[in-house]
């Protein structure tokens, strides 16, 4: 915590997040003026219609399309950034990101497998996909940590190489499955590239329990992660149950990532970029870094999503493409920086 004050980091992040939600609701094929949005929401709360929206079309667009979409994107961004920060603390490595270490691809494989099976009950299907994604993600993180480990540490290069290997493997299997499956290939592809395809509140409600468990839990592991930065041996000598902390953190981060992937596809780099910005601005104390990353991740992905919906309008670009476009150069910058400077 080098820089204190700067207003209040949490206050700024919450304001940014709210602004991003409003922007996300307002922007689209029909642009809703801010004044109209305010009036429609205000009247809507009273159960009436705004004079600016006599037919109730705006109200419908806002409540049934834009707002649930914005909240889904917010939760996904929050989950990716929050789990990214947690993975970084766990691996003691600044380049850990759910996408880079293969967790997202593992979750994607799990989800695609579940999608290919025809579930007899549709409501069940909505829960089966995140669970399958979780299993895939858990297997991937296990594989990566086994492959990358040298003695007691996980060197950066090993982590990235193991992540690339596991990720490529999972992606290859996923692609193979998709090509072999007839029918909804395009839909699955758009989903996989990070376009939230289902509209309405259903996916929001389905993702919510995973997010509540995953993100609340991640906010609570900040202190043990701080102690863990001194190495497992010292953490144990300071009274931390290291194995337990590690398992709980992996579990929580993987639940969050898997739910995000199950509902929004594979979106890279949010889990890398957001924690890094927060670390640079407000320091490396995980008790602050994780909640700030969660808030910032929501805001960041909302902005990326707005960009994805507008740059090639009326065509929507999958948001995963936009995050990679911005994220990959940032990743290279961090890689260079982490070698030359010891700020980590």
């Amino acid at each position: 915590m080098k820089k204190r004050g700067l207003l209040n980091p949490f206050g700024i992040s919450v304001l940014l997040l709210l602004a991003a939600v409003v922007l996300s609701v307002v922007v689209g094929s029909v642009t809703i003026p801010l004044r109209t949005l305010a009036d429609v929401l205000f009247r809507g709360l009273q159960g009436g219609l705004s004079t600016l929206d006599p037919g109730g079309v705006y109200l419908k667009i806002i409540m049934q399309l834009r707002l649930p979409h914005a909240i889904l994107i917010l939760l996904v961004g929050a989950a990716l950034a929050g789990s990214g920060a947690a993975y970084q603390g766990l691996f003691r490595n600044p380049l850990a990101d759910p996408f880079l270490i293969g967790v997202s691809s593992g979750a994607g494989l799990g989800a695609v497998l579940a999608m290919l099976i025809d579930w007899p009950y549709a409501p069940l299907g909505l829960m089966v996909i995140p669970l399958a994604a979780f299993l895939g993600a858990a297997l991937a993180v296990l594989a990566v940590s086994l492959l990358a480990r040298v003695g007691k540490t996980v060197p950066t290069t090993n982590l990235i190489l193991a992540g690339v290997a596991v990720s490529s493997f999972a992606s290859a299997v996923t692609s193979g499955l998709m090509i072999n499956s007839s029918g909804e290939l395009r839909r699955a592809l758009v989903w996989l590239l990070g376009g939230a395809t289902r509209a309405g509140w259903e996916p929001v409600l389905a993702i919510l329990p995973f997010m509540v468990i995953g993100l609340t839990g991640l906010v609570l592991v900040g202190h043990p992660l701080n102690v863990l930065q001194f190495g497992e041996e010292q953490a144990q000598q300071l009274g931390i149950r290291v194995q337990r902390v590690k398992w709980i953190t992996v579990l929580l981060a993987t639940i969050s990532t898997a739910a995000a992937v199950a509902f929004a596809g594979i979106i890279g780099f949010v889990g890398l970029v957001v924690p890094h910005i927060m670390r640079l601005l407000y320091g490396g104390d995980y008790r602050r870094l994780i909640p700030l990353s969660i808030l910032g991740g929501g805001a960041m992905l909302l902005l990326m999503d707005v960009a994805a919906r507008t740059v090639m309008a009326p065509q929507e670009v999958p948001v995963g493409i936009i995050t990679s476009l911005f994220g990959a150069p940032f990743f290279l910058w961090v890689l260079k920086r982490s070698k030359s400077q010891n700020y980590w």
Binding site: G239, G284, W344
Partner: protein, 267 residues
Amino acid sequence: MLEVSHLTAGYGKKHILKDVSFSLGSGQVLALIGPNGSGKTTLVRCISGVLPIESGVVRVTGRDTRSLAEQDRAKLMAVVPQVRTLPAAFSAREVVALGRTPYLNWLGQLSEVDMQVIDRSLQQVNMSEFVERNVSELSGGEQQRLFLARALAQETPLLLMDEPTAHLDLQHQVSLMRLIHRMAHPPAEDLQRGAQPKAILVILHDLNLLSRYTDRVGLLLNGELKLLGTPQEVLHSDALRQAYQLDLRVIRDAESGTEVVVPLEEI
């Protein structure tokens, strides 16, 4: 305070420590010496619970360490590790605050008492002016003292130190050793402030520090405790010469009573 009996341990099938027994009471500094690879660090890791015990028992205040949870163990003994790399994201104060971990819940919130202990620990190692400094800006000696402050913040009756004087210049070596001695033998003013005499186990390489700052010396060789005695007994023993394969001459400084070791020919 610390009781080690018939301790055998190692990595895999290789026994590094063989049937080591000794005890250490409060108000004593016990130095562990021995050639590289003789098992000194392994012994400290074993006592602190990070390396499993194969056979034998380690008791602290009469309690078998294997029956203690991590948190309770960390309230009984603190370890000052050898400084290698520090995570740079922390300020000096935050590092010392982590010493309070065994007394905190998962959220790690510090109470007023915790803050006082942290301040006092920083004062004891003369680091008060560094509190807001980032650890990456500290010198090796300052980082070493910071780790000592963190261990002091654990408020444990037993302190284990792994080569705390390595990489320190002469002045810092002496001030650190004086501090160690003082913690085991607190003067009246410290006692009035509520200080308790600590039991301190310290790994040392510099034989010249023994006579002045330690009460007893244990000589480890190939995982066995060859000799345990006063600094004078150990310095003048044949076992010491055999352990290091050196002919040694011990010279006594008449004024201070300090004994220094002059290495002569290899034997």
